[in-house]
Amino acid sequence: MTEQTASREWVGFSLRRVWIIAVNTLTESMRQKVYNILLLFALVVIASASFFSQFSFGEEAEQVASVQLKFIKDFGLGALSVFGMLIAIVGTAQLIPNEVENRTIYTILAKPVRRFEFLLGKYSGSVLLIFVSLVMMSMMFGAEMAFKQQKLVGEVLQEEQDAAARGGLVDHQEIQRNITSIRADALDPNLVKGVILIFVKLALLAAITLLASTFSTSMVFNVTVAFMVFFTGHLVGTAKELWEHSAFARYCLALIPDLGMFNVADDIILGNAIPWLHVAKVALYGFVYLATVVAASHFIFSDREI
């Protein structure tokens, strides 16, 4: 290969280099103690949902199964969102400050690597970390639902046997209906939609954290900004309703992402239908917002003196 062809090969934007930086970022993050402890804690919390679900009382006997499953869904989706948020913020906030502090950014940018490739690689690594974490937490969540379903079905069958042993009347159709209802409740496809929207929300949160870290070298600042956006983002929907007549307020609120839109846990618990079209629309909103934030990060980072 001549030098000229080598030059031509390297000048363009390369997705391969973005991928290499992303995988390196993921490996580095997953080997950190803080991440492993956080994930382990999240898994333990999700696994404990079944235990806490036993404390739902004051319900009609036939509704107990449904209430317990609703509790686990609510608890599980909440845990996924909260621990996912912590992993997204902590994982992203340290990326660029650490690179500068350890001077690794110099060694990467001293190679034929574009700044945008570096930034996109770092961000993609963070999104991969969120994805892997959510997959692991969802698997635990799924296992928890399957375990609870089996337990509840077992209890129904046990009651049937007890009733038969006592020589009482056994309504087989009622029992079958109960079992079908438990299974339908536990294997709710809406849960997948809920997890997908949590993923998009966290990817957006990671993009905002990245944006903060492109102009600040302080990790504390980045984490604070990300937390503020996370909490205000969940209040935007309510604020929009309150100030719907003020154009100024509407413009201001448009700058903060409406994170409440990604929350479908209430609909899942109430058993409302969540059409795929709705999921697609909310995800699209997230992607457009996310792309704009990454573009803004690039705009700042491309001129930053390192």
């Binding site: 090969e9 690794t104 060694t107 190679k111 034929p112 690597v113």
Partner: protein, 287 residues
Amino acid sequence: MDAIRTESLTKKYALGWRRGKLLALDRLTLHVHEGEVYGLLGPNGSGKSTTLKLILDLVAPTEGAVWVFDTPATKVASRLHIGFLPENPYFYRYLTGAETLEFYGQLCGLSGTAMQRRIDELLDLVGLEHARDRRLAGYSKGMLQRIGLAQALVHDPKLLLLDEPTAGVDPIGSKDIRDMILRLKEMGKTVLLSSHLLAQVQDVCDRIGVLNLGRMILEGEVDKLISDQRRLSITVQDLSEPGRAKVEEAVLSVGAKMVSVEHPQTTLEHLFLDAVGRDERGAGEHD
């Protein structure tokens, strides 16, 4: 063709709102020829690191421009032939030595068996085969410096930029790095190194430039700069007192002047390297 060429390179850093600007580099014109080892010397804050950052386009010049093998430094292609070792590098603590080189190799387009071969070669070159599967969190400062040098060489660049390569490294590690620089020179590489450890630079550099407060105040070939053409030193062994008197008489008789007569001293560094070397050989014999 120059490996590095700068013209009137000036860099001013903004110090913050209403605090003015700091002149870090003042109209530097530098030519580093292909195949030479050039030492950029100067006290802390003299502009050495800024010069390296400008060459790598990590910061933008306020005025002037830089070319690397005739390609403007602002183009990504200019970094095709550069290997860079930053000052006191830390790298990714959770990666092993081999994984670190693999990462940098992949970024430079290496893959498969060619990369594995290159990693083996480099670990051998910098003497870290024994630590290839150890995470960098457990590396000593000298080892980090060596893995840093290996990553700088991973894509076989023609030009190496070394920022304080021997800072914080013990005398043996420092000598190893200097030997490596000489080996790189033999391989035809161009090396630009920055340092404030003058004695070490003297051993490896062909030419030096001295920066102070951002300005180049002295430049030239090391041999010419440090040799005193008016003075001559002759070292003799086993000279008796009468013999010495005759030598002094002869010197005076031709109109020259005796400046000093003294026993030559070794440097503390040579003394240290000799002692440690002897001790290690002794330990080897005991084993």
